[in-house]
């Protein structure tokens, strides 16, 4: 049997698009916890990491404008590495006395660091490759997200 033409497929799919998908995790527990706790308490306790994050993003934005418009791609990756090394160190120091929610986060961090090394190696051959630069930035961001997430969880129960 031949399949319908694209427009028919599109129209039929959109008409029947009342899709309901169940999330794989139980999300209610996290929601219940969030609505039961006074928001102000949560805000107070997480004020400093947020302020630090905002400050880091602002500096990062200024730095990246400078880098993107005034520097070569090779300098971009070097400056990006320096900047993130500093951010990472700050976060690790900030959370050093705080228990992490998972046991294997350092292993996950090592895997991301391995990925970082592989991308940097590839950048040595193609320093202006935008896809590689993007991947490097993503890996750095994932490292910061991981450190933040295991130490300062939102609502989701892990």
């Amino acid at each position: 049997m031949s399949k319908p033409d694209f427009e028919t497929f599109l129209a039929e799919s959109i008409n029947n698009s009342e899709t309901q998908i169940a999330p794989q995790k139980d999300l209610w527990q996290g929601i219940e916890k969030a609505i039961s706790n006074p928001a102000t308490k949560q805000r107070e306790s997480s004020m400093w990491p947020k302020l630090a994050g905002i400050a880091a993003c602002s500096v990062a934005a200024l730095l990246s404008v400078q880098l993107v418009f005034n520097s070569s791609a090779q300098n971009t990756s070097v400056a990006m590495s320096d900047f993130f090394a500093e951010q990472k160190q700050t976060l690790l120091v900030q959370y050093q006395n705080q228990p992490a929610l998972t046991d294997n986060w350092q292993q996950q961090l090592t895997e991301l660091e391995d990925a970082e090394r592989a991308i940097k190696q590839a950048l040595e051959n193609e320093p202006e490759n935008p896809a590689l630069l993007k991947m490097l930035a993503q890996v750095y961001q994932q490292q910061l997200d991981l450190i933040n997430k295991v130490h300062a969880p939102k609502w989701q129960t892990i």
Binding site: N16, I21, P23, C57
Partner: protein, 183 residues
């Protein structure tokens, strides 16, 4: 006086649940959550094309809804209002979670890879293709074609020009057509 068993044991209507939630009843809110979570999650997944982000955004929707529900006056259907709240929260979720380089250099996130989209359970054929679309084309397509917003509304929601919304929609359709015909 006889009590109609059907009436006595029937689950409360949506309107009754909303009224209870407005008075701070968390058990009623749990029931309202159960009624709507699958639709909210489906919309978040379509917009964000990432299971983990869709789960986070779904939680964010229901946490914000708890605080916003007092402003629901019943002028539209609750599900329509909830879809609008969900769309706005998913869009701001995406903005918040862009990394700094994406914000500065406007890198566009690609969609889900073909295999992951195919493996997503509960999605119809079109949804599996939609998840593969690049970010802007996907958001415009979901909001305009599936959720029924006009291009003017989509443009306001996404902070783009009306012309861009139209061209992203055209781009989305072209990609979907190509993928569908090559399947």
């Amino acid at each position: 006086m006889l009590i109609d068993a059907k009436e006595a044991f029937a689950p409360p209507s949506e309107d009754a649940l909303i009224a209870q939630v407005k008075m701070g009843d968390q058990q009623a809110y749990a029931q309202l959550y159960t009624l709507h979570v699958k639709r909210v999650y489906a919309l978040c997944l379509r917009l964000l094309a990432d299971k983990e982000h869709a789960e986070d955004a779904t939680q964010e929707v229901f946490v914000q809804l708890w605080h916003k529900i007092a402003s629901f006056e019943g002028q539209s259907q609750f599900s329509t209002w909830l879809h609008s709240v969900t769309s706005n929260i998913a869009i701001s979720y995406l903005r918040k979670h862009k990394n700094w380089l994406q914000k500065v250099v406007s890198f566009e996130q690609s969609g889900m890879d073909e295999q992951s989209a195919t493996d997503c359970q509960g999605l119809n054929g079109l949804d599996k293709l939609v998840l593969r679309l690049p970010e802007r084309a996907r958001m415009v397509f979901v909001l305009h074609a599936i959720e029924g917003y006009r291009h003017e509304e989509v443009a306001t929601m996404l902070g783009m020009a009306v012309g861009s919304s139209k061209s992203q929609y055209h781009r989305a359709k072209q990609l979907l057509k190509e993928w569908y015909e090559n399947e």
